[in-house]
């Protein structure tokens, strides 16, 4: 299973599921139009509470990551066009968090830049496969 859930983390399980699905899509493990397992199936497969899985699906649907077609199941949605300004704002906040952490870990701005560049390369290689 491509989802790695650790119930013992402080992050609620539904949030781990949401993050896991988003990551899998970003890495090309799940493709737009691909069918998601049913709530029941995923709950049994991961031995998780079905209500928790349902909650994660709800969140993913709210965020436009997955789509439920009535009676035909749940599918990965095509990447949506988000307002650029909003996207920049949201990502900017996450980057600030990374920079704070980098400061406390004693990394220089140049090192952070290099790290980001390396990671981007890594992702591009994975995306092409």
């Amino acid at each position: 299973m491509w989802l790695d859930i650790n119930p013992r983390l402080s992050t609620p399980i539904y949030q781990q599921l949401v993050d896991g699905v988003k990551e899998a899509i970003a890495q090309g493990m799940l493709l737009p139009g691909e069918r998601m397992p049913t709530v029941r199936k995923l709950a049994l497969e991961l031995s998780l509470n079905p209500n928790t899985v349902a909650k994660a699906y709800q969140k993913l649907e709210q965020e436009g990551i997955i789509e439920t077609m009535r009676s035909r199941g749940t599918y990965i949605a095509s990447p949506s066009v988000v307002d650029k300004e909003l996207a920049h704002k949201r990502l900017g906040r996450l980057i600030e968090k990374v920079l704070v952490e980098a400061y406390h870990l004693g990394l220089s701005p140049a090192e952070v830049k290099q790290l980001v560049a390396d990671k981007l390369d890594e992702w591009e290689v994975r995306g092409r496969k």
Partner: protein
Amino acid sequence: MDFAIETRALNKSFGKLKAIDDLYLAVPAGSIFGLIGPNGAGKSTLIQILVGIILPDSGEGFILGRNIREKDGSIRNRVGYVPDVPVMYPSFSVAEMYRLGSKLYPFWDWERCKQLQKSFHLPEGQRLCNLSRGEKVQVALVMALAMRPRLLLLDEPTAGLDPVVRRSFLQAIIEEAASNGTTVFYSSHNLKDLEQRVDHIAALNQGRIMFSHSLDELKESVHRLQLIFAGEPPVDEIKSLPGLVDWESMGRVVIITITGHIDYICSQLVALNPELVKEQNLDLESIFVAFMKAEGYCFGSEGLGATSEVMK
């Protein structure tokens, strides 16, 4: 919201011992609800009151919307119960026990019974007196599910099951909840089993509810923070932090367990001027232990006196 179980000001004493003490509990319909608590907290007593085996001294209780004091027991046709020590006719075979179940319960489902019997590999021809406790618990679960329950009450069901059987047992419960929307109320000491399978959790101690939350809420409202100070930590200020559950210090480092919204907590901490604040992962077991410590249920040698008092 619809509740499968609701109690109001429930009380039950055995002689001088107050087993259930002014207990309020609400279990949402369709949830998998975990009940935790130390030995002797009153978990089994509560479940036995809900099933109708014992009557409360005072207070009200409702299962599936019906009063537990009702003389008419028909609602129990929809309540599956697996006690910690199943009581069954020792001379009956497993198959005979199922046949008895089919006569007792109007919604008995033979297909479901056979399917579960198959997945648990129980020896159908064997007499119950020859089965282990674990096997009897499995027979009790098969019956509790084959009767097509709307509410399932499980009293420490997985204690004493081997890992493989425990997993099939838990899977059967998840499948029941996912496929039929059955409410599951489930007491256990195995917090790891609970942590990934319940959506709500209540902790019972000395007959009272210590906390009752959705698991997500609980995880988002209890935090363990590591504080590092430049000099001597301001212990008095730390002790008077609102919502503090537990704290320990090691030199300049103080680790606190605290309830409340993380932003509010951080705003309170700024005044103490720590050099670094870091959130640590807090699993259900640590949350429970911290709350128990705050209640005076001590661990280790220094707390032996208090512990033995609780045990009595």
